[in-house]
């Protein structure tokens, strides 16, 4: 029960493996003892008038102090608890020497209260106070954070819980808010500079010669083929535990934030990924997670064993711990370089075993946008299955007759390789036919073929273009393909209530997520926000189908301000409605949007440094017939 916390694992989780800048090895002995667990509910503010004071502060993580920006003296910022139907005034006092702002993530509100400097308002000047005021039109779990500079990375984020006007449809005996985040002793501007100087700076899990000799990771031939394309399959996360400590409610894995329960209770966990850069794979060994809300809105209960929480997503889950024992909440970073850890326990001081970090995933062919070759077996991929094809070993496949060929003679895998073509197929021939010997060269060419993405500008921002991206909303998140238990996928989510707008879209829009890991450039459609000349424009109440095409080997959580959109996952008028959607590497995700909120809204990747690098646009919604301004 109170088994000793595996110290090696702990150190690993805290980033020691990453070394150079991780000072945890030098922590005093007292700080390395097992924490009895921090049972401290988040400070809460509520009511119709709320004052939030943004200030520099120090914060203590696992016995180590670092600089932070907090609100009302805490990181995360205090829990804002509101009730649907109320009106709220939020007085935000900026004591910093620089501008600040607060964006209310997921809230439906007038655009000029959305809190994005330069889009919705001018920002909050140093030593001034700005008052936000808006009605609360929804309920559920949300969060708030700075949209100025990189302040969010320093702790400027906090949870919002809105209770429904009537009875809560989700019955529970107790609830805990779980704010997941990442924190570094390194200043975020320096983190960004290091990424610009060397894209792989924080990755200490690269493929190595020692690994090759030990039979780990890709075999030599595959490494050569990936090298030919200048693609690194170990590039799963840009910023890793080599500098980050992963936090639960502001506490590191050693401090072990603990939430209490009585055996048999239905416990509602309001999960918020408030990280700057970290996608978490969350599980609680011994408990099943019944998902009841996604991005604040109710979904039909679906029970899973593990779920990927992209940055800026929120999920409410119900757990029902049957036994008088402790359970570990495990939030592994997607690259498995570290974990956020907390405990659910009947009494203070109880701990449960902490599982070791699992093997880090390597990007495979699907992640390169060669998804079609995997036959869309989303979620059920056998371990290693993707890697089997990952080298695009044409030699291993029998070649069909050359193009054009009648459909029956053109087996899917051959068509995918360009060895045969079907009349009218838009992408046929994107990959030139070639023998096994030409495979690498041919693929290299095909990995940046702009004819596969006419929307994309031909700029240095674009390192690759997915040749055959497929819808990955039914796929498990990266690294979870082979885990032997049930993992939440987007297609599992169904809204509880009928969608408010079930009109068919009148227009389609494809937006490409593009990037260059070598230069650390990120953009939509190959153009950074600093370069675009016009926003993405919608008429009020226009219904548009938006497909996001991920032309990179990294997942991107894409967030649209001021709106909900319906995921197009085959659930008709009960489509799940979200404000943030993870687009898996090399894949696509599609949603239908009713542009019903007039104004200008930010639209961006919620990986903080991707946004900062330019992966952002303005969405302008205008009353019908109003063109300019």
């Amino acid at each position: 029960m109170s088994r000793v916390f595996d110290r090696r694992q702990l150190l690993h989780g805290a980033g020691l493996a990453g070394g150079g800048l991780a000072l945890s090895a030098y922590m005093p002995a007292w700080a390395q003892s097992v924490s009895p667990g921090v049972i401290r509910p988040l400070p809460t503010v509520s009511g119709a008038d709320i004052t939030l004071r943004v200030a520099h502060q120090m914060m203590m993580i696992d016995g180590r102090t670092s600089h932070a920006i907090g609100i009302n003296g805490t990181v995360p910022a205090p829990l804002i608890r509101l009730r649907e139907g109320q009106n709220v005034r939020l007085h935000v006092e900026n004591t910093l020497d620089e501008d600040t702002s607060i964006h209310w993530h997921g809230l439906i509100l007038p655009f000029h209260m959305d809190g994005v400097p330069g889009i919705s308002f001018p920002g909050i000047k140093p030593r001034s106070t700005f008052t936000y005021e808006f009605p609360i039109r929804q309920s559920g779990t949300y969060w708030y954070h700075s949209h100025s500079g990189l302040q969010e990375q320093m702790g400027h984020y906090g949870p919002i819980v809105i209770d429904p006007a009537g009875a809560d449809p989700v019955a529970s005996d107790r609830e805990h808010v779980i704010v997941l985040s990442d924190h570094s002793p390194m200043h975020p501007h320096l983190i960004f500079k290091k990424l610009k100087q060397q894209g792989g700076y924080f990755n200490y899990q690269k493929q190595t010669l020692a690994g090759l000799l030990a039979g780990k990771d890709q075999p030599a031939a595959e490494r050569t083929r990936w090298g030919a394309m200048r693609m690194d399959p170990a590039d799963v996360a840009d910023v890793t535990a080599s500098t980050y400590t992963y936090l639960v409610n502001g506490h590191g894995p050693r401090n072990n934030w603990t939430g209490l329960f009585q055996p048999g209770e239905r416990v509602r966990l309001r999960l918020i990924n408030a990280s700057a850069m970290t996608t978490f794979n969350l599980r609680i060994p011994g408990l099943r997670l019944t998902v009841v809300e996604a991005d604040g809105l109710p979904v039909q209960p679906v029970t899973v064993d593990e779920m990927q929480i992209a940055v800026a997503e929120t999920y409410d889950v119900i757990v029902q711990p049957p036994d008088d024992r402790a359970y570990t909440i495990v939030g592994e970073s997607v690259d498995r370089s570290g974990m956020a850890r907390a405990t659910l326990a009947p009494r203070a001081g109880m701990v449960a075993p902490v599982p070791a970090l699992r093997k880090r995933p390597l990007a495979d062919m699907k992640d390169m946008g060669m998804g079609a070759m995997d036959h869309g077996d989303g979620g059920t991929t056998m371990p290693g299955h993707g890697e089997m094809h990952a080298g695009m070993d044409h030699g291993a496949m029998t070649h069909a007759s050359p193009a054009p060929a009648p459909a029956p003679a053109c087996a899917p895998e051959h068509a995918a390789m360009g060895h045969c073509t079907l009349p009218g197929a838009p992408d046929a021939g994107a990959v030139p036919a070639g023998g096994a010997g030409h495979a690498a060269g041919a693929m290299d060419h095909a990995m940046r073929d702009f004819s596969n993405a006419p929307e994309v500008k031909k700029t240095p921002t674009v390192q690759t273009i997915s040749p055959m991206p497929m819808d990955r909303m039914g796929d498990r998140g990266q690294g979870l393909e082979g885990v032997p238990h049930r993992v939440l996928v987007y297609t599992d989510l169904k809204a509880v209530t009928r969608n408010p707008d079930t009109r068919a879209p009148s227009r389609e829009l494809r937006i490409h997520l593009t990037g260059n890991m070598e230069r650390y450039m990120w953009a939509f459609d190959g153009e950074k926000l600093s370069e675009v000349t016009a926003p993405i424009a919608f008429s009020q109440n226009e219904r548009v189908r938006v497909t996001l095409v991920n032309d990179t080997m990294m997942g991107h959580p894409i967030h649209l301000h001021g709106h909900y959109f319906e995921l197009v996952t085959g659930h008709g008028d009960h489509a799940p409605r979200k404000h943030t959607i993870q687009v898996q590497p090399g894949g696509t995700a599609t949603f239908d949007l009713t542009a019903d909120a007039v104004g200008d809204w930010a639209f961006h990747c919620h990986l903080l440094y991707h946004m900062h690098a330019g992966m952002m646009q303005v969405v302008s919604v205008r009353p019908a017939g109003e063109a300019a301004a």
Binding site: R503, S539, G570, G599, R622, G625, A628
Partner: protein, 349 residues
């Protein structure tokens, strides 16, 4: 009513206004589809009168996943195996069919030219303009810099020990940068050969920069100034390569090709093979250069990254003058080069 709707649909489809094409975005007007359930604040049109059968039909269509053509599942479509019909929710989207079975949608057309300045109406243009400029700059428009001292080493050559450095500095954005380069070597207690380059560097693709500027030699013999143009970047198989042409103020043309590869042995131990060849289009007697390949270097350095930015290394370097250049060297009593053991640090910030 239905006949009217069909007629309207046909007209709308035929006369669909051409889409406003915008930079970097692919917009496409589709023939409008059914408006089964207008949003709350949307006035229902007469043709939308709740018709339960139309409604059911529509909801059914909405049940299908994005590429809704069951005969053409996404994985096949992506392979070019088949072309999916447009999503079931937009039965008429592809355009060739003159009439939709659904009443025309009442969704407005997408707006034309729009500027993201809506907030000016509330906060005023002046307050917003500065914030907007900052917002744009902070999302992709920043400048950075790096100082990289790639080689800073002592070369042990059997008593004729030397030192050598090779470094660069850049400042700028993602595309345009000012780049300074310096390299040189010398004998302890003897003379130093050095060169400095000041270059404008421009990203010409995802991996390569085009660089042009001037090079100044500070060396034995008369000083030379060169106009320089070159490329540097990351070649397939992760080779860092660089090539440049130098045209001197006396009309002499020189060239240099160099490259290295970082073989990661562990996460911190890196073996770096390195090669450099210098060429001259003509003899340059005052610089003791023959024509053709003047000198070459092959190096192998093993570094340990205590931090990414700080890595001591040891290795060996074979440097040799060749052809006419070697003959010049011998004629003045110098050797033409050979093996050396090297030790140094690679440091950047």
């Amino acid at each position: 009513m239905i006949a009217l709707a069909l007629l309207a649909a046909a007209l709308t489809t035929g006369d669909a206004p051409s889409p406003p094409q915008r930079h970097g975005e692919h917009m496409q007007h589709q023939a409008p589809a059914a408006d089964a359930t207008p949003p709350e604040h949307h006035p229902p049109q007469p043709t939308d009168a709740p018709d339960s059968s139309a409604h059911a039909h529509h909801a059914g269509a909405m049940d299908a996943p994005s590429p809704a053509d069951p005969a053409c599942p996404p994985e096949h479509a992506a392979m070019g195996h088949c072309t999916p019909k447009p999503a079931g929710t937009m039965p008429n989207a592809a355009g060739p069919h003159p009439a939709s079975p659904f009443p025309p949608a009442v969704t407005p057309p997408s707006p034309g030219s729009v500027q993201p300045t809506y907030a000016d109406r509330i906060w005023g243009h002046d307050a917003m303009a500065a914030a907007r400029a900052t917002m744009r700059r902070e999302h992709g428009g920043m400048a950075f810099s790096q100082v990289m001292l790639d080689l800073a080493e002592v070369q042990l050559r059997g008593g004729r020990d030397r030192y050598r450095w090779d470094g660069a500095f850049w400042y700028g954005g993602d595309i345009n940068r000012l780049t300074l380069k310096t390299e040189g070597d010398g004998a302890f207690g003897g003379s130093t050969d050095a060169e400095v380059q000041a270059l404008y560097s421009r990203a010409i693709g995802p991996y390569f920069n085009l660089q042009a500027g001037v090079r100044q030699d500070i060396a034995t013999g008369p000083d030379r100034t060169y106009a320089t143009v070159g490329v540097e970047g990351l070649a397939p198989y992760w080779f860092d390569v660089e090539g440049a042409l130098f045209l001197s103020n006396k009309g002499e043309l020189l060239a240099r090709i160099e490259g290295y590869y970082d073989q990661r042995i562990t996460q911190r131990l890196v073996l770096q093979p390195r090669a450099e060849i210098n060429l001259s289009a003509q003899r340059v007697p005052v610089r003791q250069l023959g024509s053709g390949v003047t000198d070459a270097e092959l190096g192998l350095r093993l570094r340990y990254e205590i931090a990414r930015e700080f890595a001591p290394y040891v290795g060996m370097s074979w440097e040799r003058q060749l052809g006419g250049t070697a003959r010049y060297a011998r004629s003045v009593g110098d050797d033409a080069g050979g093996f050396g053991v090297v030790a140094g640090i690679r440091v950047w910030f």
